[in-house]
């Protein structure tokens, strides 16, 4: 019999870190393959299909990018909070809050010239998300409520509020739960590559701005310190409550942008399925990327390949829709499991 012996590691080199993460992804793909094989489909064919459908044609690539846009936003949202060790599980709800507030302006507000209209909508989207994130932030700061629970539960509230409007005042003429199509003034322009819209540009600009914010500003320094040790941050003269609150607002605003870019860039209306769990997938993106904004982009694209690929598996190979979710889950599990190898030397020893 073998026994597993763990010895604490002092530190991991960057190279080791990357190798371990990549191995975890490979293992996750192998496990996904096994799962697919049980469904009676050749896993190699299926995995090949995942990548070719997502990256094998200009159409595939553009559709992958379309899915990557909201993931970049939610990944940034969760990631910025993780920088100061706050868990925002509520990106999904903030996404809906942002989208709902922006939609309210489209429905009740005047139709402005396109640049102005879009500026207002995008701003409202960010504000909506930020306001929704302010609730758990205040609960945490004033009453020490765990943000994991509060942000998670508020997702359901936000989605139900959106539902209220969709099934109520904003219901379409044909009685289905979606708003009328937005006017052209409220539609983000495409950038000339399939359905890819200018939300991508907003996202990439934010990536750069956030990188600068985190690593090159006073506010970023406060955020990093708060994330490392509350006591030390306080000792260094940082107002940790204020920092946490600002981080929450920023995080919520980013998630809100995901929502507003979905409705103005792709869907052109508000309905129940503007997000296919982008807020939750954003958690995986942020965790994989370890809070660095540029790496968040890479993993947002990677996970959108998975999402896009899973879609086509469902259509082309008649695999259940859950395959995509299962693959995501396996990747997250493998990555979480791989943490063990980063903190310990794992040895197999022969026991009795």
């Amino acid at each position: 019999m073998f026994k597993i012996k763990l010895e604490q590691k002092e530190r991991v080199s960057k190279r080791e870190d990357i190798i371990i993460t990549l191995s975890a992804i490979v293992i996750a793909l192998v496990l996904s393959g096994i799962f697919i094989a049980f469904n009676g489909v050749n896993p190699f064919v299926a995995l090949w299909k995942v990548f070719t459908s997502a990256l094998g044609s200009p159409y595939g690539i553009s559709e992958t990018l379309v899915k990557a846009i909201p993931l970049i936003f939610t990944g940034l949202a969760v990631g910025i909070a993780l920088n100061s060790k706050l868990w925002n599980i509520g990106a999904e709800g903030q996404l809906f809050a942002g989208a709902t507030l922006a939609t309210a302006f489209v429905i009740y507000g005047p139709v402005l010239p396109k640049p102005l209209e879009l500026t207002v909508l995008v701003t409202l989207g960010a504000i909506g998300g930020a306001l929704w994130a302010a609730i758990p932030a205040l609960l945490k700061i004033k009453f020490k409520m765990n943000e994991v629970i509060s942000t998670l539960l508020l997702n359901y509230v936000a989605i139900n509020i959106a539902d209220y409007f969709l099934f109520g005042p904003w219901k379409g003429k044909d009685n289905f739960p979606y708003t009328p199509e937005f006017p052209t003034e409220a539609k983000l322009s495409r950038i000339g590559f399939g359905r890819v819209h200018s939300g991508l540009i907003i996202a990439l600009v934010l990536v750069i701005l956030l990188y600068i914010l985190i690593y090159h500003t006073k506010a970023g320094f406060k955020l990093r310190m708060t994330g490392s040790s509350l006591k030390a941050a306080k000792y260094a003269g940082i107002n940790i409550k204020k920092t946490m609150f600002m981080v929450f607002l920023l995080s919520g605003a980013l998630a809100g942008l995901a929502g507003v870019c979905q409705i103005t860039g792709i869907e052109y209306k508000l309905h129940q399925h503007i997000s296919t769990g982008y807020g939750y997938t954003g958690i995986i993106v942020a965790w994989l990327a370890r809070t660095n904004p540029f790496i968040i982009v890479i993993f947002a694209v990677f996970l959108s390949i998975m999402l896009k690929g899973a879609d086509s598996l469902q259509i082309a190979m008649r695999l259940p829709a859950a395959v995509g979710t299962v693959m995501q889950a396996l990747i997250l599990f493998a990555i979480l499991g791989s943490e063990l190898f980063k903190t310990y030397n794992v040895k197999l020893i022969r026991g009795k």
Partner: protein, 505 residues
């Protein structure tokens, strides 16, 4: 233990060490920080494997498969950081994980068994108390009792007195002596000379991972041991020249502060500190010293009272305002408060200066300049570290403290609050810190030194205050009272009562 060697990442921590423990003996393992004492013992308890060498226990060669095995065969270790469950009661902690536990545990029977151990060794602990609420001295006793309940034959205690007060430490030593009398072997890891002579039968000195010698207590003296330990004879003398003092840099009036648990920790304190003066605050730990330091530096809210600094009321200023006004704090909890451990060394060095205009580059921070600043401090204070971009928690205790002190000294403040500044440091680092404190005093800074080390208090202070239950039982010039008298004040007697007692004798 025969010819034990162990390296971490190419650094030899133990080289060819031999160690022998007899039944019923208290064997002190003496050495500076980083001499390899704890590593050696971790191999004896199966936490690490030796790279070379063999370990025998009762004549049998040992090869551990998992750390818990050592405990099963009767080798138990009380670590510096306790392994107790804070939310459970003492009794539950003692029972938890006991190998004889069945699915259903007969608690009254266990309790009776534990009571017999407590009576035998004269432990006074409330079994129903929640461990997390016990003072640290009692928690340590729970750890030792836990080992006794497991019926270990060898008990290893790793620097047990670092966190204890003098009285607690004496009490602990007595208990250890009683335990040794029953035939158990005790290994006592320490770097304090006085303890060695108080308790040990035999002494093994380690230096830089090498065993220097094993001697009987009666065949040696402190000077010889110190020589073995540090390689050279260390003579610490403090030179306190007269400096011009600036009166009332700090004025504290009728200060009340609560502890974390909401209990009054500082009770109506009033005192002044002058610039160019070190006021040493002695006292049994947990009598409000840390709360006082936190309150002075803005890290803890005050309930009532006023703090004046250079004539201005700073009672309600937040930490950042006090930092800007020139209040410096070297906290007792270096790892959790003094640095943000997971952040890099350079970030920790600049964490109090990054806001200054000189480090601004437009809207951004001038990271290059900040790093240069950090480099300068590392060089100036001779901090040895694995890398400026690596997390601060990788630094050894001494270098971490050098980092903190360097950071604080470089900021040129007018009040410096030091809390246990040399706790757990080796001789070299301790010297460095004490000299730094004196240097600040000679520059005319006001210094509040909270310490549990009498050498430090007597050696550095101009005035000494003794703190007991949130109040000063005495505040007087250094030299006015003997150690014995201060000891009495630490146990709650006022200066006048002590004076009376001394004349009665």
């Amino acid at each position: 233990m025969k010819n034990i060697s162990k390296s971490f990442y190419g650094n030899k921590v133990n080289t060819d060490v031999e160690f022998k423990l007899e039944k019923g003996e208290i064997h002190a393992l003496l050495g500076e920080n980083g001499a390899g004492k704890t590593t050696l013992m971790n191999m004896l308890t199966g936490v690490y494997f030796p790279d070379e060498g063999e370990i025998y226990f009762k004549g049998k060669k040992l090869a551990f498969k998992f750390p818990g095995e050592a405990l099963q065969i009767g080798i138990g270790m009380v670590h510096q950081r306790f392994s107790l469950v804070g939310n459970l009661t003492v009794l539950e902690n003692l029972i938890l994980g006991h190998p004889e536990n069945k699915f259903i545990i007969n608690i009254p029977e266990k309790k009776k068994l534990i009571k017999t151990y407590m009576d035998q060794f004269n432990f006074q602990i409330d079994l129903n108390a929640i461990v997390g609420e016990l003072p640290i001295g009692l928690r340590q006793k729970v750890e030792i009792l836990k080992m006794l309940v497991r019926e270990v034959d060898v008990l290893i205690v790793d620097e047990p007195t670092t966190v204890l007060t003098k009285q607690e430490a004496d009490n602990l030593m007595q208990i250890l002596k009683n335990i040794a009398k029953t035939g158990k072997g005790i290994i006592f890891i320490t770097h304090k000379m006085s303890e060695v002579f108080q308790i040990a039968d035999k002494i093994t000195v380690l230096r830089k991972g090498i065993k220097i010698s094993t001697v009987n207590k009666n065949d040696t003296n402190p000077r010889e041991l110190a020589k073995m330990m540090v390689g050279k004879e260390s003579e610490i003398t403090f030179d306190r020249p007269k400096v011009n003092t600036i009166p009332d840099v700090v004025k504290v009036q009728d200060l009340f502060v609560n502890s974390d648990k909401g209990v009054l920790a500082v009770n109506s304190l009033s005192f002044n500190v002058a610039g160019g003066e070190i006021i040493g605050i002695a006292g049994v730990s947990g009598n409000g010293q840390v709360e006082l330091a936190d309150a002075l530096t803005g890290n803890r809210d005050i309930i009532r009272g006023k703090i004046f600094f250079k004539g201005k009321d700073i009672s309600n200023d937040c930490p950042v305002d006090r930092i800007d006004k020139g209040v410096s704090y070297v906290p007792g909890d270096r790892i959790n408060v003094g640095v943000a451990g997971s952040r890099s060394v350079w970030e920790n060095i600049i964490m109090k200066v990054y806001r200054l205009p000189e480090f601004k580059k437009g809207l951004l921070l001038n990271n290059k300049k900040l790093r240069e600043y950090a480099d300068k401090i590392i060089e100036k204070y001779n901090i040895s570290l694995p890398g400026i971009n690596l997390p601060a928690l990788l630094l050894s205790g001494g270098n971490l403290q050098k980092l903190i002190i360097g950071r604080e000294m470089e900021r040129d403040c007018d009040l410096y609050v030091f809390v246990y500044p040399t706790r757990g440091l080796d001789v070299g680092a301790t010297d460095f810190v004490r000299n730094a404190i004196l240097q600040l005093r000679n520059l005319g800074k006001a210094i509040i030194l909270i310490s549990g080390d009498f050498d430090e208090i007597f050696g550095l202070s101009d005035r000494i205050a003794v703190m007991y239950e949130g109040q000063f039982t005495g505040i007087f010039n250094n030299g006015d009272h003997s150690l014995e008298e201060i000891g009495l004040m630490m146990s709650g007697q006022s200066e006048e009562e002590v004076a009376k007692e001394m004349t009665n004798v």
